[in-house]
């Protein structure tokens, strides 16, 4: 299972990656959309956790571009704008929105659910 975390808040994303790895989930980090696309060119990621609002490329633009490269990739959006489904209630969209600050357990649950929706 390959995970990529994309956010312009470097400290935040590094900390998140470390916490995930402590829980047995290895994740790559990218600090911008361009960087994420570069990394995606080399690795087949299963899931991407994207910040909605980043300087340069927004989360949604990145999503479209990533889909071009990796058609099967799943997305989880993280946003400082808060979301309607902060408790993880699935929206009608394919994507899931999570609010900052994140609950690490919610994030992991969501990742697992996105990757293995049948379980």
């Amino acid at each position: 299972m390959k995970i990529i975390l994309v956010d312009d808040e470097t400290k935040f994303i590094n900390m998140l990656a470390r916490r995930l790895s402590l829980r047995g989930l290895e994740a790559d980090v990218a600090y911008s959309g361009d960087q994420a696309l570069e990394k995606a060119a080399q690795t087949r990621y299963d899931i991407a956790v994207l910040d909605m609002k980043m300087p340069g490329m927004s989360g949604f633009t990145l999503k479209r571009k990533l889909l071009d490269q990796l058609p099967d990739i799943k997305f989880i959006f993280v946003t400082g704008h808060g979301t309607l489904d902060q408790n993880g209630v699935p929206d009608q969209f394919d994507d899931i929105f999570l609010a900052k600050p994140l609950n690490i357990d919610t994030l992991i649950d969501t990742i697992l659910q996105r990757l293995h929706p049948d379980q």
């Binding site: 808040e9 400290k11 935040f12 900390m15 998140l16 470390r18 916490r19 402590l22 829980r23 400082g80 704008h81 808060g82 979301t83 309607l84 489904d85 902060q86 408790n87 209630v89 699935p90 929206d91 009608q92 609010a99 900052k100 600050p101 994140l102 609950n103 690490i104």
Partner: protein
């Protein structure tokens, strides 16, 4: 529970009298005292429209009464003087005839009964009204008699008429019965024999003749004409006071030989006019007073009835006008009140929404900026905690993990606050899609599964079978239900109940009722629960934004929300939403 709307509907016309004062609205209303305006309006309209009518009626009534009085006096005066003149002439004529006889004929011819009878016959032919004739000498003995009664040889010395008659040249008596028991009048003239002795020529007048003459002046049944003597005893029968010789219960008017009319001031029902005159002939005064009695109400009945009818019509008109004035005033003032009320409501809403928008923009800006550092704190503290838990170092140092938990909890609280603040901004941008309410409710309830089991809360969801899928904004509806259900769970104590009832309100609405058996909301707080930052859950980390956002969202979904609560019993939130939400035109 809430019957107010029904009562208000029944009192639609009198809203301004029975409305419940609302301090929030009152400050936006132009006029504060509607009952006063109502009363003033009725008074002004009534006075301006009714006073001319009332005045005209009053003047008209006075005029009618005055002219009726004047007319009556005139009529009475005319009748009285005419009757008096006839009466006087009647008596004078007969007295003069007697005078002519005693002057023309010598005494010896007069005392001849046969001759006397002839004279009587001639008098009856020439004048009429004579019953008999007699010659009485100075001692009162009747010398000669002609007439139907057998009165020859009678002595009248003791009779009062005789003593009066012998003392004057001419004499007219009152009506009396005398020896013959028939009411009659005596007229007599005194003369002298060749030897210088006085004698009387006495004639008896038939009162019937007199009565016929008087009654010929009775123009109608309401007029009564009769003769009184000076002591008030009736000399001719009266339709009002009765037969001859009864005492009439009226005060004898002061002497006047000309016609007088008096109008006694008594109650209107029996008002009458009296005309009178003392009757005197040239030769002698008579004991008669001619009285004419006219009843006002009867004589002038037509006029007075006309006046009465007029008054009735005016009265009914006034009443109808008063009713119309009252209705019109009530309607106008109520319309004014309703318009004012609507204006005040709109202004209040505008003020509220402006407040909300301001707060929303400000807080959303802050929340967004705070979220990023907050996320960093969260992850850092989380990582620190992870370090302790996963690497095994300092695992025994419970204090540090507890402190880290405190930080994480505080961050989570901040996160709730900021995300709710952001909810304000999210009132724009509506996306309509088909939503299955039942599924959504079950989804939300599934997050509370653990809490339900832990607290032993009995959850019932009743979805009416005819509830259609609705077209609305999924996200917003989700947040509305989430907020309300979260609130309910927070309020419910262990072993409480949560009932969710979804029903279809044909044709175009559905209602979602969320009913808890929680602590309830005190009445003074009920009005404020939709205000931002109003919270009673200080210890339970409430932000005071949940319901405020919910109210805004429901409005955004073109629905309404109502709350009923009894302290200690529970709270019911009822959200009514359109089945098909209309797309908003962008302003």
């Amino acid at each position: 529970m809430n019957r107010q709307p029904l009562i208000i509907k029944n009192q639609r016309w009198l809203d301004f009298l029975f409305h419940r004062p609302n301090i929030h609205l009152a400050s936006f209303q132009t006029i504060s005292n509607y009952p006063r305006i109502w009363i003033i309006s009725i008074l002004i309209l009534a006075v301006t429209s009714l006073s001319p009518l009332v005045m005209a009626t009053f003047i008209n009534n006075r005029l009618i009464h005055k002219s009726v009085d004047a007319e009556l006096v005139l009529q009475t005066d005319r009748v009285t003087s005419n009757a008096k003149r006839s009466m006087r002439f009647f008596l004078e004529e007969r007295l003069n005839a007697l005078r002519f006889i005693v002057n023309e004929l010598p005494y010896y011819t007069l005392i001849d009964n046969e001759h006397l009878a002839k004279i009587l016959g001639n008098l009856k032919l020439g004048f009429g009204g004579f019953t008999d004739l007699s010659i009485i000498d100075a001692d009162g003995s009747q010398i000669a008699y002609a007439g139907p009664f057998n009165l020859e040889g009678k002595n009248y010395k003791t009779q009062s008429w005789f003593t009066q008659g012998i003392e004057q040249d001419s004499f007219i008596s009152e009506v009396f019965t005398g020896y013959r028991d028939i009411p009659h009048i005596i007229i007599s003239v005194r003369s002298e024999t060749a030897y210088g002795r006085h004698f009387l020529l006495r004639a008896t007048l038939d009162t019937q003749r007199l009565m016929d003459m008087l009654s010929s002046y009775k123009t109608n049944v309401h007029t009564d004409i009769f003769l009184l003597n000076h002591s008030g005893i009736l000399q001719t029968p009266s339709t009002i006071f009765g037969k001859v010789f009864t005492t009439a219960p009226i005060t004898i008017p002061a002497f006047s030989d000309t016609t007088q009319v008096i109008t006694p001031e008594i109650n209107k029902e029996n008002a009458y006019v009296i005309g009178y005159s003392y009757i005197d002939t040239e030769a002698v005064t008579t004991p008669f007073i001619l009285m004419v009695h006219k009843k006002k109400s009867d004589v002038m009945g037509t006029w007075l009835n006309l006046g009465k009818t007029f008054n009735w019509i005016i009265g009914i008109c006034c009443l109808v006008m008063m009713v119309i004035i009252t209705l019109v005033s009530t309607f106008m003032v109520n319309q004014l009140y309703l318009a004012d009320q609507a204006k005040a409501e709109t202004m209040l809403k505008m003020e509220q929404s402006q407040q909300l928008a301001c707060i929303g923009q400000l807080s959303a800006g802050i929340a967004h900026e705070i979220n990023n550092p907050l996320a960093l704190i969260n992850e850092t503290a989380g990582y620190l905690k992870d370090l302790y838990q996963y690497t095994g170092e300092h695992r025994s140092d419970k204090e540090i993990t507890e402190l880290l938990d405190d930080i994480l909890e505080a961050v989570s609280r901040c996160g709730t606050i900021t995300s709710q603040l952001l909810g304000f901004v999210r009132q724009f941008d509506v996306q309509i899609s088909s939503v299955d309410v039942e599924k959504m409710i079950n989804g939300i309830l599934s997050f509370h599964k653990k809490e339900t089991e832990y607290k032993g809360i009995h959850v019932t969801t009743i979805i009416a079978p005819n509830v259609p899928a609705i077209e609305t904004d999924r996200g917003k509806l989700q947040q509305i239900l989430l907020n309300l259900i979260n609130n309910a769970f927070q309020a419910i104590e262990a072993n409480g109940c949560l009932d969710i009832l979804v029903s279809h309100l044909p044709p175009k609405k559905i209602s979602i009722e969320i009913k808890d058996t929680g602590c309830g909301i005190p009445e003074e707080n009920l009005k404020r629960i939709h205000e931002p930052f109003f919270s009673t859950k200080k210890e339970k980390m409430g932000t005071g934004l949940g319901l405020s956002i919910t109210y805004g969202l429901v409005k955004k979904l073109q629905g309404t929300i109502r709350v009923e609560s009894s302290e200690g019993i529970g709270t019911i939130f009822t959200v009514t939403l359109p089945v098909k939400m209309q797309k908003e035109e962008k302003a």
